[in-house]
């Protein structure tokens, strides 16, 4: 690599950091500006925004990233004019400015994947629109992405926005950037201190042993001493005197030795205590260095909620309590997406439209409460809304329809069991699936993410009042509280968070249910497996015979429970988790390893994997819920309706590659005739078509008994709230916007519907 390339590489690294910080600051600034603060604050904000884009422009020029330079320049002009007071920032401008930030993000993303700027980004088009917007000319391009706002029925209602309660301040303070690998190294070294501490404790024990040796020597001496004195008194001689002196001298010597040793042992003991104290504090301190407050996620949430509220046409208040609660950085990063999805759910499914809320006498603004607090070794994060709550009947019906639960089981299922079903992938009770949420895949992923962190997610809901999601996450990932067990002659560690209960198992407790072992637990059969069998490890294991009993560990993960039979329990301990390195990148059933104080290596098991692996051998009838529906038996037929031959060909390719049979139609009219001749399983239709458009087609299909159950996906290039609402009205099952059109999104939606 030439010198120039090297320098450029370094510059890019710092540029990326700078870009991330500035983009975050600009987004936050825009959000604050949108709240229409008072004059003085507005001026200050505009100054800051101008400064940020100006610096960004310069930085981009330094690393020769022309697209970003141009984008920043365009926005600089806007902020400059606003700063001078020559223009006001309208809603359209705000939308465009946010778009600009997103475009910058896209350019960086393209850079990461090695492309220059994607041809689909249309930067020059954007810049033209931006310039037109603030220069006062009407915007020409039909591709504008600013959504048309559905005017609220009550015209006094303010424009949609997201309000942040003042308590939810973004945390800021002096900071230093430190690579997390350095922190991990420090953690490892702090762990080494533990071994040294144990050795010191060992030394102290030996010193104490030495002391007792001396003490017993002294005792012996005491016994003999008296006799010796007497002997000398009776027999006194010169040699005797010599020996006598020598013996006296020895006694003193022994005394001094004992005193000295005892002093020494005390001092070492004190030092050891101090060492323990300091190294504990050090470890705690290092653990805390990896902590960040939850509030660092807030700017991203605010931005997302703002965009959502805009496209939905409603008003939402986000209240935050406990934003200063700190959590491990890695945990924070991993729950960002799950939390975003849950918040999205609240806006999309939870909070009702304005009219409905008014009717119910609820406050016009929907409230979403995000609360976090530390409880012992866990962080509990709650997301609740005061919206419509979960429709248990719809869940029940959807579960039966999608084959996830048998009808009888669904009828008997408890409220909690039904609520937990919403985490099952493939289950979505949204009347219409939009590409934002309602996919039903999201909540399953949320649960997976949380469980990967050895946490839990639960839901509570009251129909008509609202829904609350509760995430329980570990306080620190650096160490985990584990249960140590013995199996097949080796120790293993199991994260305590996944352990539901420990139960003793006797031979008479085991029943064979459909060929597999099970025990009775909470009045239901619970699958039982031997840990050594699930791990496929050799080694002798205790056999359960006669009067004996063995402990079983009941693990709960991914909505399932299995009891694992082990040879013995070795105790509970807080263990430092070490990963297995790059070569053992992902080992089934194993989460990592730890080094005990004695230096012994113990494997830490992965509870989610274990439960899954055990299920491979467990009989399906023991489990109340089937896993994913079986693969489709025959090829399904999909009818594509679109007046553009390009689009038809593209969609046809995507679908046939995915294994579907495809029929084509030019418009709604043709679609109806095609359907009459050959039955289909699903329809993908464009909106704008001659003779009969997508809406009319859907309306007709849904009004016809023969076709009412036929799923219809509407595909369009316009991201319009109006159209989406219309789509719901005519009864479409899903609505996909072509701008965000990619084959995955289409295929996923199709899979969900048939």
């Amino acid at each position: 690599m030439t010198l120039d390339e090297d320098l450029l590489k370094q510059l890019m690294v710092s540029f990326r950091e700078e870009l991330t910080e500035r983009v975050a600051a600009i987004n936050a600034g825009l959000l604050s500006l949108e709240q229409e603060p008072e004059e003085a604050q507005q001026v200050a904000l505009l100054e800051e925004l101008f400064r940020h884009v100006h610096s960004l422009k310069g930085a981009a020029r330094a690393v020769s990233l022309k697209p970003i330079e141009e984008l920043a320049h365009g926005m600089e002009d806007v902020f400059g004019a606003a700063k001078r007071g020559t223009i006001n920032l309208s809603e359209t401008l705000f939308d465009l400015l946010y778009q600009g930030m997103d475009l910058i993000g896209n350019v960086m993303a393209n850079l990461d994947t090695g492309q220059e700027i994607g041809p689909d980004l249309d930067l020059s088009g954007y810049l033209v629109r931006l310039a037109a917007a603030w220069r006062g000319q009407p915007i020409q391009s039909p591709q504008i992405e600013a959504p048309a706002i559905v005017p609220p029925p009550d015209s006094e209602a303010p424009a949609p926005k997201v309000v942040l309660e003042p308590s939810a301040q973004v945390w800021s303070g002096e900071t230093i950037r430190v690579p997390t690998t350095r922190l991990d190294d420090l953690m490892a070294q702090a762990g080494e201190l533990l071994v040294t501490r144990l050795r010191v404790a060992q030394q102290i024990e030996e010193l104490t042993d030495l002391q007792s040796l001396l003490t017993s020597w002294q005792k012996e001496w005491q016994r003999v001493r008296g006799n010796l004195q007497q002997y000398w008194r009776e027999n006194g001689s010169d040699e005797g005197a010599l020996i006598h002196n020598w013996v006296e001298h020895n006694e003193e010597y022994l005394h001094t030795l004992t005193d000295w040793l005892s002093q020494h042992t005390r001092r070492v003991s004190d030092d050891a205590t101090r060492l323990t104290l300091v190294s504990d504090q050090l470890q705690e301190g290092i653990k805390r260095m990896r902590m960040l407050p939850l509030a660092t996620l807030l700017p991203t949430f605010r931005r997302m909620l703002r965009d959502l509220a805009r496209s939905k046409g409603g008003d939402v208040v986000l209240k935050v309590e406990g934003g200063e609660t700190e959590m491990d950085k890695h945990v924070l990063e991993q729950i960002k997406d799950p939390l975003m999805h849950l918040l999205r759910n609240c806006v999309d499914h939870g909070i009702e439209p304005l009219a409905e809320r008014k009717r119910q006498g609820k406050p016009l603004r929907g409230t979403i409460l995000l609360r976090a607090e530390r409880r012992a070794n866990f962080i509990v994060v709650e997301i609740s809304d005061d919206g419509t709550g979960i429709d248990l009947e719809a869940v029940r019906e959807a579960a039966v329809r999608r084959g996830i639960m048998a009808a009888e089981a669904a009828d008997e299922a408890s409220e909690q069991a039904l609520l937990n079903l919403i985490f099952h992938s493939g289950l979505s009770t949204s009347t219409m699936i939009t590409e934002v949420s309602g996919r039903g895949i999201g909540l399953d992923v949320v649960r997976k993410h949380v469980e990967n962190l050895q946490g839990r997610v639960e839901v509570q809901s009251v129909r008509g009042e609202g829904t609350t999601f509760t995430l329980t996450l570990p306080f620190t990932l650096a160490s985990t509280r584990c249960l140590l067990v013995q199996a097949g002659g080796l120790p293993y560690a199991v994260p305590l968070a996944a352990v539901e209960k420990l139960v003793p198992v006797r031979p008479e407790d085991i029943a064979v249910v459909e060929g597999k072992d099970a025990i009775r637990y909470q009045d239901r059969p619970l699958a039982l497996a031997r840990l050594v069998d699930v791990l496929k490890m050799p080694g002798t294991s205790e056999d359960l015979t006669g009067e004996g009993k063995l402990p079983a560990v009941i693990l709960s993960a991914g909505g399932h429970r299995i009891a694992f039979l082990v040879d013995g329990l070795l105790g509970e301990q807080e263990l430092v988790v070490k990963n297995l390195g790059r070569q053992l990148s992902r080992v089934p059933n194993v989460a990592g390893a730890t080094i005990l104080g004695t230096g012994q290596v113990v494997l830490i098991l992965n509870a989610v994997d274990l439960v899954k692996s055990a299920q491979r051998t467990a009989s399906p009838s023991l489990l109340s819920i089937q896993e994913e529906a079986a693969a489709p038996q025959e090829r399904k037929t999909i009818l594509i309706v679109d007046d553009s031959i390009t689009t038809r060909t593209l969609e046809k390719n995507i679908l046939t590659t995915a294994g579907y049979n495809v029929l084509l139609a030019l418009d709604g009219q043709e679609a109806l005739s095609a359907l009459a001749e050959s039955p289909c399983d699903l329809i993908v239709s464009d909106l704008d078509m001659p003779r009969m458009d997508g809406f009319e087609l859907t309306r007709q299909l849904k009004g016809d008994d023969r076709y009412r159950e036929l799923p219809v996906i509407l595909v369009t290039s316009l991201d319009s709230a109006e159209d989406k609402v219309k789509g719901i009205e005519v009864g479409a099952d899903a609505y996909i916007v072509k701008g965000a059109f990619d084959q995955d999104s289409l295929l996923e939606t199709i899979q969900q519907l048939i």
Binding site: V195, L535, N579, L580, G581, Q583, L584, P588, N589, Q600
Partner: protein, 189 residues
């Protein structure tokens, strides 16, 4: 070609040089000044660590070797291929321990109290290699290497650099560690 002499050639004061000649001289100078990448088995000899696995002797480039430890506390890892003998604690860090013979499709290495672990760093991976006995570290000439024919050794040729006259199989550690099979990455279905 006497390319080596060129960089030292100093043109006479009154000689006019064509642009091509100038370019050529500069190019050769640049090449001779440029540092070649450190190659494992470049040049005429190589520093090699020789160790025994069972009856055979193997050699690996010393540039990869970080340290050699006695094997203590090998912990087997479930659900891994046979060539992963287990993991071990080396100075507070977890290292996977690889049985090279097993990886190359031969009989597994017998582990006893004299077995050692050679900690190596290759292709961005840090692992420990089982060794029954580390015999020597030193330079060996590369000039008279024989190809690794099946009559000479059972080790597949793709993993070797050659065989020395005294039957030490020089392993190509980079090829071994970059083999797709080396990284264990399995999910539970």
């Amino acid at each position: 070609m006497n390319a080596e002499k060129e960089p030292l050639a100093i043109p006479e004061g009154d000689e006019e040089m064509s642009p091509e000649e100038v370019a050529r001289i500069l190019q050769t100078r640049a090449e001779s000044l440029a540092q070649p990448p450190a190659e494992e088995f470049a040049g005429s000899t190589a520093q090699v660590v020789i160790f025994a696995l069972g009856e055979e002797s193997y050699g690996i480039g010393a540039t990869h070797v970080e340290n050699i430890y006695p094997l203590e506390g090998l912990t087997p890892v479930p659900c891994t291929p046979d060539f992963v003998a287990g993991i071990v604690n080396l100075r507070g860090r977890i290292f996977p321990v690889i049985d090279l013979r097993s990886f190359m499709g031969l009989d597994a290495v017998a582990v006893d109290e004299n077995t050692q672990v050679i900690a190596v760093s290759v292709a961005g991976l840090e692992v420990g290699l089982l060794a029954n006995d580390v015999q020597s570290v030193g330079a060996i000439p590369l000039g008279n290497l024989e190809p690794a024919l099946p009559t000479v050794t059972h080790v597949a040729a793709e993993y070797t650099r050659g065989v020395t006259p005294d039957m030490t199989v020089l392993l190509d550690l980079e090829a071994i560690m970059q083999d797709r099979r080396m990284i264990v990455h399995d999910e539970v279905q």
